[in-house]
Symmetry: C2
Subunit: 327 residues, 2 copies
């Protein structure tokens, strides 16, 4: 059976009632129980063949779409509360496949504390897409974290090693929710998740904040080393340029970072201080590399600090467009 | 210039800061000022060539995507607060066109009291799509309106005439926000907007509520009469089966409806009581027609009440799929 909106709606109507819902199920809009704290929201589109392989298991597709969106809540220190799922797929999609996408999404959302409360189904040509909007809350009245809030004198913390996520990790993203909250409570001001590559995202953070961000070490994931064995690229390049790590980057005072790492950052046992934030004249703003460990670094980047001139991972961009020199 | 995510982001960064935003602009997720009342949310996908003509003016495309989503807030008596815009478009889209879509969307959202606070850009093959998530609030603690809350003895109110929206009205949807709020305050229990055709949506309302809904008159829009001149169909059929009217259907006590209509329903000068809600055995549940005015009705439906057996307007469905007999 192919895409039939009415039949899918009838199936969705059999789902358990989501906990946050106060109003009627299946209504035009979802009315939720009041929340304390400030509302936080974000949205992400996940397209078959762009963000996941065309032959991906449909449940993984759905689960990834949810997890990468909720990672943006983690990067805002917010607690997930609810999700909205909007599925677009072509007429020829099998109902079994469509149900599996939605089921994967709703289960992952539920597991992450953000049950699916509303959605939309659209039959349209072109690759299937699941758009996820995540709602959360941020307690207290402190200025929320932002990628524009790195301050000179802080250190840069990364919640885990990067690179090589394409092997499998990009399908099983674990949003660093507890770590994000702990970092913010500990005094982190800048916070973001690494989705388009550690280099590109750190460079964005530096530019948004108007600082020079100096990367002193790059924790390399074993998947990056594995990828390097066949790619002809260095493990370091994979760690800096592959996307979809969904680790958090945070800037915070050095004492706070040390305390956090000593006590253990929840859900992020491999967290480490990886660099420093420096005030800078406009021409110096951006990401710089000051990598001491020569075994990770076979080229001129060891004679640091040098400006990062790598590329990031932009979904759907041609290879030519992926190169983004920061001149 | 074609789709370039970084360049579009740079342009979006020049937009005025949205009023509800507390956190940083351009962050992974948007942190908003706390709201009073219960959170309300909904999402809708609008696809080029499916929900709008392929040659639509891009600003109209953006504006429609926003208005049809916010109409779902109106159907929940909610006040709009913020929107999230997620644009997917193929590489070959011109930047001028993409900007115009986003600009049309953000202006319409701002005008409807729901500034765009966050979003996503994705380059992917297939027809362009704008997904809009709308956030709003519902004051008080009363049970929210739902399409499953029609009760026997109530009357059915419609905020305006239907049919023929394809001529132009579907591009300039006016969400019945003030009317929705007034209806709910006056005691309406069931509420929904007419998006897939008056007949189909009223039938859905009846089935969700487990009642027999008897339509006694159908206010026919002049666009429906105009369409009938060339379509070979009756104006009544257009009024019952065309989609995207985005008028509200509400059920409420007869005295409350009379009072509302006497005082004038805000933003809905042509509102009228169009039918009644009856308790029904299971086999009788659904929409029935009891149309008295013979000039609107050249066929056997005048010998009412007869069960409605028309079709609705399902975007993207083939003509064969659009026919949904209610057996």
């Amino acid at each position: 059976m192919t895409f039939d909106e009415a039949r899918l709606h009838a199936w969705i109507a059999t789902w358990a009632r989501p906990a946050p819902l106060v109003g009627s199920s299946g209504h035009d809009a979802a009315v939720l129980a009041p929340t304390s704290g400030r509302p936080v929201c974000c949205t992400d589109q996940t397209v078959l063949g762009v963000h996941v392989e065309v032959d991906v298991a449909p449940r993984r597709f759905g689960a990834k779409a949810v997890a990468r969106t909720i990672s943006d809540l983690a990067a805002t220190a917010a607690r997930p509360h609810a999700t909205l799922l909007a599925l677009r797929a072509p007429q020829e999609s099998s109902e079994t496949w469509l149900r599996a996408v939605l089921d994967g999404a709703r289960r992952r959302a539920e597991a992450l504390g953000a049950p699916a409360v509303a959605g939309d189904l659209t039959c349209a040509p072109g690759p299937a897409q699941l758009s996820v909007t995540a709602l959360g809350t941020l307690p207290g009245r402190r200025t929320p974290p932002g990628r524009d809030r790195a301050r000179a004198g802080q250190v840069l913390l990364l919640t885990g090693p990067c690179g090589g996520s394409r092997a499998r990790r990009h399908l099983v993203i674990e949003p660093r929710l507890a770590a994000g909250e702990a970092l913010w409570r500990a005094g982190a001001t800048a916070l973001m998740d690494v989705s388009d590559g550690l280099g590109l995202d750190a460079d964005r953070l530096a530019r948004a904040s108007g600082v020079r961000l100096v990367l002193e070490q790059v924790p390399i994931h074993r998947d990056a080393r594995a990828a390097a064995r066949t790619s002809g690229r260095e493990p370091l390049d994979h760690a800096l340029e592959d996307g979809e790590d969904h680790e958090l980057l945070a800037t915070l005072p050095v004492a706070a970072a040390r305390r956090l790492l000593r006590d253990g950052l929840p859900g992020a046992p491999a967290a480490a201080v990886v660099g420093r934030v420096e005030g800078a004249r406009r021409a110096q703003v951006g990401l710089w590399l000051d990598l001491a460990a020569p075994e990770e670094c076979s080229d001129e980047r060891a004679r640091a600090p040098v400006r990062w001139r790598g590329r990031g991972w932009i979904h759907g961009a041609s290879d030519a467009d992926r190169s983004r020199p920061n001149g």
